[in-house]
Symmetry: D2
């Protein structure tokens, strides 16, 4: 059932898809714990992080995103983390697997692996060395879609991936590529979400990937909020999401501004480094990020500790 | 009563000021009608535009802003528009006078004039040729504040004025300059509003100057929305403002997305040109913008007409 | 005689114009001296500055540019400076008058005045409040061209004027507007000059307006260098220009790097403030820039003094 | 022998290093040929490309740079290309190996490999997912320097690597990191080169990595020009380099503008895609770039063919 073409606004016609998941709420991002020497992944500690997220009532778990340092893992490590996550979650919530590969061949390989191990969905971002044009991007996403039946969340994050995709282009992919079903937008520009909502007549689910824009993203119609924050502040992101959805305006604003400084801090400090430091402050040491990434400086750790105390997240 | 200094966040201490107006809601911006040959201002037609705004239930009238083409008026014309507006409004709502002068001397002269004729407030933006540094900006605003007792709304609009002022700097001016009481933010970056709210502990009133960001600005705590939109779509901006304030989330989102395309259009087409074309379409011809500004092209006028019809604003 | 259309490159066909001046070399920019209280222009001191430039062997004098604080002068002051400059120069070199007005009507008025008083050329930049589109820009320049027979140098300086004009668009104006004959490029992007040279087959004279890009601009084919630097460092800019033209590569590079820090400094500090401070250091006090512009801070003055000493320009 | 500290300019003190190579001239970049199905590297064809570069009189060969699609190769392929290049060049010119790895561990591994196989130098760029701060960057480069005795060319290319390093920071690394000896600058901002030259008193060799800025880079003091252009237009880049060095200003400008459109084209089209298409046009088909990279479109190929004909590089 295509959307009726509007006279003046060029609406993107979207056909509903059977495999369009009804995902909504908080999509939680675990970090990837490393051993003391940084050389290997510690899966049991990953289990603890996943448990923290599930206790924080996240609605899905997204492994191998930015927070999970996916870009810094070897092929084997990446597979271990993907498999372990699916097993640990045990179907309690959907598992999303992040795929950000430089070559299409490698992205397909990982997408197939995600399907094989029982993940529910993949989130694909076009990590790039050379800037990619829209023909290249389209073919990349289409090739991945053809390789597995998993629903695809198109993920736009130019700050890490080096390529920016317009709302119009991403909606065209949702329209024309079989499994491309939803969008995660992380530019921090609220107008992108307005465009997605308006051009798709509110029919294409989009998710907020910019932590300190959560309040307005949800108000603008975002289906969910992709965040590593619940690793450190528990149910508070979920409470914010629910307050907006329940039209509890004053409570939503209060919750947002309580978390605001923390949310901005973890983005600006680098999610992996910030969350790992925070877990250590909270008594769950899981190692450092992988070099060249460095842990937070002493003074940044102190700042984070004060913030976590203010959010009742350190005893 | 200064705001309590927070341990980690560098809050800006704000002393409450007796002359801090309790302005809230829609601040309406009239355009400035010109004669057919473009050489003179037509005050009676300005009266009609002001009446349209008052009928649209605006909470204040802001003369001589961007929409009013203040930058393109002669000294005499500027004074005529200011005086006429105050007389025409007759105290029904507060009158704000925009001041965007290249020299401090000229800005002081206009501020004094605004006070003399009975305006309630001035909105000052640092229109610039050379980029101004913070020392220059501070002294400019302070000199204007020393020249009249009128409350000052600090107006940040780098796109037209060529200077960008950070939330921190504007809050410092609110803190240290006697009559600097509130802020109008027009960068289109919602994070600026979060910063103003958070750093002032919600104590400094701020206004949204970016039309197509109205939904999130009000949700983020903006006291009001500065807009020329009511010139063309009547009470609809006021309804949106009220829906957000009344926590009517679904209605607010619906109203916002109804107006969204129109709001973006008038910003991107240039407010003066777009509003003047719109008024002509609606049967209130008030001339063209002043050259080098050109009226909307035929096809843009047609686009605008369709939008206005969709908003039930053309019969 | 139009340039032959190339098969693949879209060359802009340029018709040679009788009034295309053979201007080449250093175009010197005087600053505008103010009285102690800043309220009036001091014409006799302007005479001293013009003499300094002529002694520095500039090939033309450009009054009322950025360095001349034209944007901060009243109508009367502007006319006084224009007239005085033409009289003082007495035809020894061509006089260029800068025009950067917000309205087309005002720009035409000033262009006519420049012609009436005997200036040789006008340099027109589209100072803007609202961003102007190419239709608006074209009509603005065309209207000015129709108002006087003076040759026009199209001046692109988005940093001060708020509008950026592409090489392609400026060449189109040179092609289609009678008196538009040459271009001054101040973006600091050397590729703009390559484009002007290449697209016009080297036929359209262009001038460098970015001081610290002088070496490469002249190497890339610039006809001249528009600069206020000779106010402070005498013939050194001319020597650099000549060294490049005479293919004295080592000397050119040496001269450039000698002046480099100074050239960057006066741009970053604001030309008017920096040159006025420098003249004061050199024993020719001519007042301060007009507020909101402030003079250099003490420490910046000290920096400037050391640079001038290194350039043998302070005794 | 440290550079004398200047009174006002904060010169970076550089100690001369024994292993600072006297590299100068054209550093040629081979592309990496793939088999028809894109699955493997074709080493014999790589040999042909290297021969083309040597015939074009390049002064060094840089394998595994952007043009070589290093980011898209597997570990094994990367090693094959590195080894083959060293063997094929047989010491006729120095061999530089590009290293752009996401983790420090992986970068060290490749640096050691480069040393083991007899490369003369490594060119290290901080390819990134998370943005890296200066502490992270410094430690990354320092760790690589500690792992091998090979001289390091610090390579700044934010467009592909996602991190921008200032001239000041790169010079600090040259000063403080043992094997960091020279800089390749690819931002396209000529001011970066001025800063490197000026702050190091001309003592730190820097190379131009922005093809269409070659003329000014060499005039500004660049030791060399890193380019894949000789793959397609033979000795012409070398002739341009020599013309500038020999102060043959008119010839240099003529040669530059002859090549200009071609140089800009290959940068904007993507070096790997453009050079591979060009070689195919010239009768040396070496396959396509690796997906998601696509070959040039038909019309772009046609454009390239015309350019190559104009440069006498297609028969």
């Amino acid at each position: 059932m295509p959307i009726t073409q509007d006279k003046h606004l060029k609406l993107i016609p979207i056909v509903y898809k059977d495999n369009m998941m009804k995902l909504t709420g908080i999509v939680g991002y675990p970090v990837t714990p490393f051993s003391h020497d940084g050389k290997s992944v510690e899966l049991d500690k990953l289990g603890s992080v996943i448990d923290i997220l599930l206790e924080a009532k996240v609605d899905a778990i997204a492994a191998l995103g930015s927070a999970g340092e996916a870009a810094y893992l070897s092929e084997t490590e990446w597979q271990q983390v993907a498999e372990y996550t699916v097993k640990q979650v045990k179907g309690r919530v959907p598992v999303v697997i992040g795929i950000a590969e430089l070559t299409t061949t490698q992205a397909i390989k990982r997408a197939k692996h995600a399907y094989k191990i029982g993940a529910n969905m993949i989130m694909v971002s076009p990590f790039s060395y050379y800037k990619l044009n829209e023909d290249e991007l389209f073919l990349h996403f289409e090739s991945i879609s053809n390789a597995t039946p998993l629903p695809i969340m198109i993920y736009n994050n130019p700050a890490t991936c080096g390529v920016d995709m317009s709302p119009e282009f991403m909606l065209k992919m949702v329209s024309d590529i079989k499994n491309a079903n939803m969008i995660k937008e992380s530019t921090g520009d609220i107008q992108r979400m307005h465009k997605i909502y308006k051009l798709s007549n509110g029919k294409v689910p989009f998710f907020n990937g910019c932590n300190h824009m959560a309040l307005e993203a949800i108000n603008a119609g975002a289906s969910g909020w992709c965040t590593a924050a619940p690793c450190l502040i528990g149910e508070q992101p979920k409470q914010l999401f629910d307050a907006v959805k329940q039209a509890n305006k004053e409570k939503a604003r209060e919750l947002f501004y309580q978390q605001y400084e923390f949310l901005e801090f973890i983005v600006k400090s680098g999610l992996a480094a910030a969350v790992k430091s925070g877990l250590s402050i909270q008594g769950t040491p899981i190692g450092e990020p992988r070099k060249p990434l460095l842990p937070l400086t002493q003074s940044a750790q102190q700042q984070l500790k004060v913030m976590l105390m203010d959010l009742d997240s350190v005893v």
